[in-house]
């Protein structure tokens, strides 16, 4: 099959999903009223509630939901074959993803812009809110572990990448200075800083620079520092954490905002160039790249691994693990938090909810399909399936994307010697822009949870250092694939909780609710299954593998315990939900009897 046909399938799914299914639900169930004042208009305070144009809000929503998830998830999920990954991306978005994002916005708008925490307190139980908050904390921690490992272990260890990343950060700081201190025009600032950022990435590819960073790494084969952690991995993970520290401590306008701004253009131009390159190239999916490998995602059963230094980790059973491996890109709980606290409070008209919430989710699906193609045709067409297996075995999950993107960009004249580090800087920036904001959020969370008991947590530096130390434990230990699955699991549990909330809300309004109840049941059972399986796999591996490095032992135990904690929380939540469901049904029967 041709890659362009795959993109067309994605477009057809968007046309049918958005144009038929989503519009029909919007019209027949939600009945948006254009004349009804939204919370953004009713409670306009210039802080949380401010109406914004639908296109502006669409851009805001898309930027908020599309990070590393829709890019990395599909690449990892190709271990089961490209077809299951593609089907889940399309059907997940079609039946669940947009449903959650759109309905959360509508629920927020109709419930006076209340946050998800407040709504779960009201519709499920008081402890549901507490569970939601702990999910969020674990989710954030797992983001740090998963993204930190990608950056510190995979991307930055390439000697052509670190200088580019550091210079883009420097250019971002310059952008902040130009905008806020020198009050320069934003277009001029953008032009200067983006050009400088590209020059910075190019400088990183010079042989002298690469040799310098190779020396820092300790040579081509970086020596082991402790456990199975190499010198390069140790140094670049530490640098990543230091960058996150500055991002968490400095004022948002000084660090996070301007760097994110410059990073946006690097990412945006990369996606645009990759898409155009793919359309010009129009490659076929390589014949040796299997549509389906096997039920266990075991690459060595589908390809010859005898020549590889390391054996790639078999992820486990397709159901349920595929459905948490690809979280963002199909469905993600994080979207609901952004939709309720951010978007619902800025919506100018109820009629815009579908365009903003549903539209942004379908566009993210398109990004996930594109990312899947970077692995399948970008890497597959040049090095074949064996090349993909080799990169996964070497822990270069994100590297797959960089190689694939550079291959696509090469079709429009971008040399791979630049495209490859550019793809790595692109992904590193995507991860970093999220990571330092995550640390900011974690320190706020720890101040709220612990501040009254241990006043030291109210100190921003202390709170950030604690968050970074916890992150360091996750980064330096265990297997990345396991952390990724846990990250997906925490994310999908939040999604399940949101779908449940929406179902209860629809019941309370006497509206049709099967279109949210069925996705909730599926996500809930699947996520619990995935977490139980991960707990079993991690602990079983420690128990049965002799001579496992100490960092992997610690990491596996940690992953197993987090998985068990998440399962217990999900079960408590399930029990509370069942009771809430029965309450709502009893209330609706009573209401009907009165009529």
């Amino acid at each position: 099959m041709n890659a362009v046909v795959t993109l067309l399938i994605g477009l057809v799914a968007i046309a049918v999903g958005y144009g038929v299914y989503a519009k029909s639900i919007n019209k027949n169930v939600m009945n948006p009223d254009e004349k009804k004042a939204t919370p953004a208009k009713m409670y306009m305070d210039g802080v949380d509630f401010t109406p914004a144009n639908r296109n502006v809000l669409f851009g805001y929503q898309f930027k908020s939901i599309a990070a590393l998830g829709p890019i990395t998830g599909p690449i990892v999920a190709v271990q089961w074959g490209w077809l299951p990954a593609l089907l889940w991306i399309i059907f997940g978005t079609f039946f669940i993803g947009w449903v959650q994002d759109f309905s959360t916005i509508m629920m927020g708008v109709r419930e006076e812009g209340q946050s998800l925490g407040a709504l779960s307190y009201r519709f499920v139980s008081p402890r549901a809110r507490t569970i939601l908050l702990t999910f969020i904390y674990f989710y954030l921690l797992l983001i740090m572990g998963a993204f930190g490992k990608i950056v510190g272990y995979d991307l930055m260890t390439n000697p052509a990448v670190p200088l580019g990343v550091l210079l883009v950060i420097g250019v971002g700081l310059l952008a902040g200075q130009m905008t806020y201190k020198w009050k320069m025009d934003i277009i001029l600032t953008s032009a200067i800083t983006v050009i400088l950022a590209f020059v910075g990435i190019w400088l990183g590819t010079l042989p002298g620079v690469k040799n310098l960073f190779l020396a820092i790494n300790g040579g081509e084969t970086s020596p082991v520092v402790f456990g199975s952690v190499t010198q390069a991995q140790f140094i670049w993970s530490l640098v990543t954490l230091v960058i996150c520290y500055f991002g968490a401590i400095l004022p948002i306008w000084r660090w996070a905002q301007p760097i994110n701004y410059v990073a946006f253009w690097i990412v945006f131009l990369g996606i645009a160039a990759g898409t155009v390159g793919l359309l010009v190239w129009r490659p076929s999916i390589p014949a040796d790249f299997p549509a389906f490998t096997n039920w266990n995602g075991n690459l060595c059963a589908a390809s010859d691994c005898s020549g590889l230094e390391k054996t790639p980790l078999a992820l486990g059973a397709l159901w349920p693990l595929l459905f948490v491996t690809i979280a963002c890109g199909a469905i993600s709980g994080w979207h609901s938090l952004v939709s309720s606290s951010g978007t619902a409070r800025q919506l100018e008209s109820e009629a815009d909810a579908l365009y903003v919430g549903g539209g942004a989710m379908f566009l993210e699906m398109f990004l996930a399909v594109l990312s899947l193609l970077t692995a399948v045709v970008g890497v597959g067409a040049t090095t074949g399936f064996a090349g993909y297996v080799g990169m996964i075995a070497a822990g270069k999950n994100a590297g797959v994307f960089a190689v694939g993107l550079s291959e696509m960009m090469s079709r429009i004249g971008v040399p791979t010697s630049f495209g490859l580090p550019y793809g790595s800087v692109f992904l590193t920036l995507m991860a970093l822009t999220i990571m330092y904001l995550v640390v900011r959020f974690m320190r706020v969370a720890s101040a709220e949870f612990m501040g009254d008991k241990v006043p030291l947590f109210k100190n921003a530096t202390f709170g950030s250092i604690v968050a970074l130390l916890l992150s360091a434990v996750l980064i330096y230990t265990g297997f990345w694939a396991r952390i990724w699955v846990l990250f997906g699991g925490a994310n999908q549990l939040m999604a399940a909780l949101t779908l449940l909330l929406i179902t209860l809300w629809l019941m309370s309004k006497g509206k049709s609710y099967m279109w949210t109840l069925i996705p909730f049941v599926f996500m809930y059972i699947t996520t619990i299954g995935a977490l139980l399986l991960t707990a079993y796999n991690t602990i079983h591996q420690v128990m049965t593998t002799p001579g496992l490095a100490i960092d992997l032992v610690v990491g596996n135990w940690l992953a197993g315990l987090i998985a068990i904690y998440l399962v217990i929380s999900a079960l408590i939540l399930g029990w509370d939900s069942l009771q809430a469901f029965q309450r709502q049904r009893a209330a609706s029967v009573e209401a009907k009897a009165k009529v």
């Binding site: 898309f62 930027k63 951010g342 978007t343």
Partner: protein, 100 residues
């Protein structure tokens, strides 16, 4: 000089497409920066109103003579200020501003 209707319609369509794209890019880039700055200003304003007119919320601050001079300037913001200050918040409220 007048253009044929087809060209005029095409021109309008192209202009509208570019405007939509520009708005989407603004939403993905500058919008949050503007929101953050607005929030920063609003927080300072709210803090100022709290210090000067805290008695409106039941905080026992005696309104001195000079605060009455400020009242006409503050009056339009009082409803929004009260709602913003008294609204219950938890961590999920911070998701859009801290993570983005």
């Amino acid at each position: 000089m007048s253009f044929p209707p087809f060209i005029t319609r095409l021109g309008r369509g192209v202009k509208s497409t570019f405007r939509t794209l520009a708005e989407i890019i603004y939403g993905a880039t500058i919008h949050e920066m503007v929101r953050d700055l607005r929030k920063e200003r609003a927080h300072l304003e709210h803090l100022f109103i709290l210090i000067v007119f805290g008695d409106i919320l039941g905080i026992p601050i005696l309104p001195p003579y000079y605060t009455l001079h400020l009242l006409p300037y503050i009056a339009p913001n009082i409803t929004g200020w009260k709602r913003s200050l008294l609204r219950e918040r938890d961590l999920t409220d911070l998701c859009d501003q801290e993570i983005g």
